[in-house]
């Protein structure tokens, strides 16, 4: 057994080294997040402050006197230099206080979290519709490539990514709400989103906005899965499986296994986009999510609300990216080495 011991030691120590390497990568990645977050905060702050107009327009009519405008500017701290305003805002934000909305006086964090919750509800429903249909159409199109089935599925996918979703939303409302009177045109439930429940009375409010939101991810997933399926089916191992006499359903299982990682990555990205909210769709359906909140903050020129909403959504994306990077590093050793 001479020499086996060092060898064993080396073998045994490998997982530890690998684990340390992953941890080091995660730590490094988290450290990188700090300047990104500060930059995001700075961009959020500057973007809303460099736009022309008065930040107090939400509570100060244009017919107000200059004296009154100055008095309120001091009361809200808008008379201070921008770097001071930024520093104070960032310090509060770090402590979990995004300030209060100028227009409503309500805490921004409460407003944003309620809206994000509603957007998550919509995104989950849309993801279920979009991903199910996308996977189905993609697999069918990939399996029956260049047949009429493929052409139909591809056409649906192209329509999904090409049709303006706010237009589709309006058309769906005209058909299912105005003409057929089957589903509500706007809102998030008979008692508002505060009384949301996963029963039919509420789900009927979700159907049209969810279908509208789902069409783009459905189209993208269809195209991705179609390409993946076609590519995998043309590979040698599939021929080998068939030559071994595997039934087509078993071959299909292998195809799905091979297509899953890429398809999952695409679906994850699409889910991320949907969780960000859509100003257009949420406005068309008066769905009280982060998109409608942004719309409202922009039109009311409610700077604390605008800054807070953008910051929370941006941080959400930073966090999602971090998670994706960490997950990829855990799966693919090449990444953490880089």
């Amino acid at each position: 057994m001479p020499g086996s011991s060092p060898g064993m030691t080396k073998e045994n120590s490998r997982p530890t080294t690998e684990g340390q390497s992953v941890l080091l990568y995660i730590a490094r990645r988290i450290v990188y997040v700090i300047p990104i977050v500060i930059s995001v905060a700075l961009v959020c702050f500057m973007l809303v402050h460099i736009t022309p107009g008065d930040p107090l327009v939400a509570i100060l009519p244009a017919d107000a006197s200059q004296e009154l405008a100055n008095q309120l500017r001091v009361a809200y701290g808008f008379d201070r230099p921008l770097p001071v305003q930024f520093g104070l805002w960032l310090w509060k934000a770090v402590n979990g206080d995004l300030g209060n909305s100028i227009a409503t006086g309500r805490p921004v964090l409460t407003e944003v979290m309620r809206a994000v919750g509603n957007t998550v509800t919509l995104a989950i429903a849309a993801a279920m519709i979009g991903f199910t249909l996308g996977l189905f159409f993609g697999l069918v199109a990939g399996y029956f490539r260049d047949s009429w089935v493929d052409k139909v599925a591809t056409s649906i996918a192209i329509a999904g990514v090409s049709v303006p979703h706010y237009w589709l939303g309006m058309v769906l409302v005209i058909i299912f709400s105005v003409q057929l009177n089957w589903l509500p045109a706007v809102g998030a439930g008979p008692g508002g989103s505060g009384a949301w429940g996963w029963d039919w009375e509420h789900i009927r409010y979700l159907i049209l906005p969810a279908i509208t939101t789902s069409v783009i991810p459905m189209g993208i997933v269809t195209r991705t899965v179609r390409a993946l399926t076609g590519d995998i089916l043309s590979q040698d191992f599939v021929e080998a499986l068939r030559a071994k006499g595997l039934r087509e359903t078993n071959v299909f299982r292998h195809v799905i296994k091979n297509a899953a990682p890429t398809a999952m990555a695409v679906m994850g990205l699409q889910l991320g986009y949907m969780l960000g909210g859509s100003i257009l769709i949420e406005t068309v359906f008066s769905w009280p999510g982060s998109g409608l909140l942004l719309n409202s903050a922009i039109f009311q020129r409610d700077l604390p609300l605008l800054q807070g909403t953008i910051l929370v959504l941006a941080l959400f994306f930073v966090f999602l990216n971090l998670m994706v990077d960490i997950a990829q590093a855990a799966i693919d050793p090449r990444i953490k080495r880089g």
Partner: protein
């Protein structure tokens, strides 16, 4: 299967409870704490419903002008010896929704919430929309339980009109919330108390807050104990839903999700009518003008040019074409029948030959055209259809030797520039600005544009009009305390402003709204506001 799904999808049949469901144009529920935001739409839905003011508007007629009535004050009088002091007698037997009594202490408390910076209830967020609408009110003093003295900075006969904007919230309710509020200091506790008050409001109005989901819905219930028994609401509840998108509002109405919408999509009006819904509109106290620069070198300093522009626009054509009937052609800030109209000698009408003649007298013609630049926005509250309307004016005025250049900027920026004036670099060389105006009270309709003391940065005399004649008339109107004589003085001021063609007067908005035929008893007054009390609903 399809039939089963269809039946399941059908809206529930309403029970015995009558609920008025309204789709507002606002993107959010206007503030509910007493002083609403979002302009007069806010006052309409969360001000006048849950609260009362000392004085109020008569909203009972679609034909007569909306005039001032006693509200929580039954009578008022200016002090003969000192015209800055007013005595208001308060209405007895009025209670807030929380049961606490309305009295002089409540009035003083509400004045101080926006005017006294060291008062515990002082709230900067309510100051802008209140103090600007009662610019001369300085303080309030209790004389006895049902009498209060209001003091102005200068003699001002407009005070009773201005007071329609001060809504009286319950001090007792606020105090209870203040005592329960968390906060590092009194200011933080005060902010917390107002935030809580907004969620559980208490006024004296005909409607009580029954449930509130911020940004989504506000449910109001009938106040059975309202002090004016004739104005106790007939329907049980009113549900207010923010729907900023015109097509979404229209779809909600057509699908039966709401039974009333503000400002339906103009291109959907034929279908709305065809489906049996009622469309209401009426002249609003609103004017869509060009406000001229009168600084040195402005071409509008020549009265012939100002009059020519006013005579060169076919307002009926604008109404019947572009606006599908949804405007009233303007012949001044106030139209005939209004107590502040007066008798202007300059008749504003479409008379192109007369306009061309005036321009030629002023030295312009086909070979010597006059270039003017107008600052406007692509959208904005009360702006109607600013771009197409300005393009219409551009084409119309081209026939009277004007070359109109449009400087289109964002609405909030235009608003901000308005306070800066024509001399400010923000005017970008424009010699007229196009900001629409609410004309509910004389200060906002006339004084702030005509008085030389209202030039920027003080107020909205954007064009720096400086005419001793107007200054004298403003002083006279402000210091005439008999209401009939005051109205006469205002009518003279208005007539003089039309004779001087201080604006290019174009249109009055008509506030279109569409509603279910089940809604009965609705009256659309010549006002920004509506009385929801007499409205009933048939099953």
């Amino acid at each position: 299967m399809l039939a089963v799904v269809a039946v399941a999808c059908l809206p529930r049949i309403a029970g015995a409870e009558t609920v008025l469901r309204i789709g507002m144009t606002a993107a959010d529920i206007p503030r509910t704490l007493g002083q609403p935001d979002q302009g007069f739409e806010g006052n309409r839905f969360t001000g006048l419903t849950m609260y009362d003011a000392l004085t109020m508007w008569d909203l009972s007629s679609a034909d007569k002008p909306s005039v001032l009535l006693p509200g929580l004050a039954t009578e008022w009088k200016v002090n003969d010896a000192d015209k800055t002091k007013w005595t208001f007698k308060l209405r007895p037997g009025v209670s807030f929704h929380d049961g606490s009594p309305f009295n002089a202490d409540a009035v003083v408390w509400n004045v101080e919430k926006v005017l006294k910076q060291d008062a515990p209830q002082f709230d900067p967020s309510q100051v802008g929309v209140t103090a600007s609408r009662m610019p001369t009110l300085a303080s309030a003093r209790k004389i006895d339980d049902m009498t209060v003295e209001l003091i102005t900075k200068e003699p001002d006969s407009f005070l009773p009109i201005n007071l329609t904007n001060l809504f009286i919230a319950s001090p007792a309710k606020w105090q209870k919330l203040f005592d329960a509020a968390q906060g590092a200091d009194a200011k933080a506790k005060s902010q917390g108390a107002w935030e809580a008050f907004a969620r559980d409001a208490s006024g004296t109005g005909p409607w009580k807050m029954s449930s509130f989901t911020p940004r989504e819905r506000l449910e109001l219930a009938r106040n059975e104990n309202y002090w004016d028994k004739a104005r106790v609401p007939k329907v049980d509840k009113m549900l207010l839903l923010p729907m900023p998108e015109a097509n979404a509002r229209t779809a909600a109405l057509l699908s039966g999700q709401v039974n009333w919408i503000e400002a339906p999509a103009p291109d959907a009006l034929p279908e709305i009518k065809q489906r049996g819904f009622a469309i209401y509109s009426n002249e609003e106290p609103h004017i869509w003008p060009w406000q001229f620069s009168r600084i040195e070198g402005s071409p509008w300093n020549d009265i012939r040019v100002r009059k020519a522009a006013n005579l060169c626009v076919d307002r009926e054509g604008l109404k019947d074409g572009l606006l599908a009937g949804l405007m009233v052609p303007a012949t001044g800030t106030f139209e005939p029948g209004h107590p502040w109209r007066g008798n202007p000698t300059f008749q504003i009408k479409y008379d192109k030959p007369a306009a061309q003649k005036l321009m030629q007298e002023a030295g312009f013609g086909p070979n010597k055209r006059l270039s003017v630049k107008i600052q406007t926005s692509a959208s904005g509250s009360g702006q109607m259809l600013p771009l197409p309307m300005n393009e219409y004016l551009q084409q119309a005025l081209a026939e009277c030797y004007f070359d109109v250049q449009l400087d289109v900027i964002e609405w909030n920026t235009l608003f901000t520039n308005w306070r800066r004036g024509a001399k400010d670099p923000s005017a970008n060389g424009a010699n007229a600005t196009n900001v629409t105006i609410s004309t509910m009270d004389p200060f906002f309709a006339l004084v702030r544009f005509l008085s030389s003391s209202m030039a920027p940065p003080v107020s909205n005399n954007w064009g720096f009009i400086n005419d001793p004649k107007f200054d004298a008339m403003v002083t006279k109107a402000r210091q005439t305390f008999d209401p009939t004589e005051r109205d006469k003085a205002l009518a003279e001021l208005h007539a003089a402003s039309v004779d001087d063609a201080v604006f290019l007067y174009v249109a009055h908005d008509v506030a279109p709204r569409a509603m279910s035929p089940k809604i009965k008893g609705f009256v659309q007054p010549k006002s920004w506001f509506v009385d929801f009390s007499p409205i009933s609903m048939v099953p």
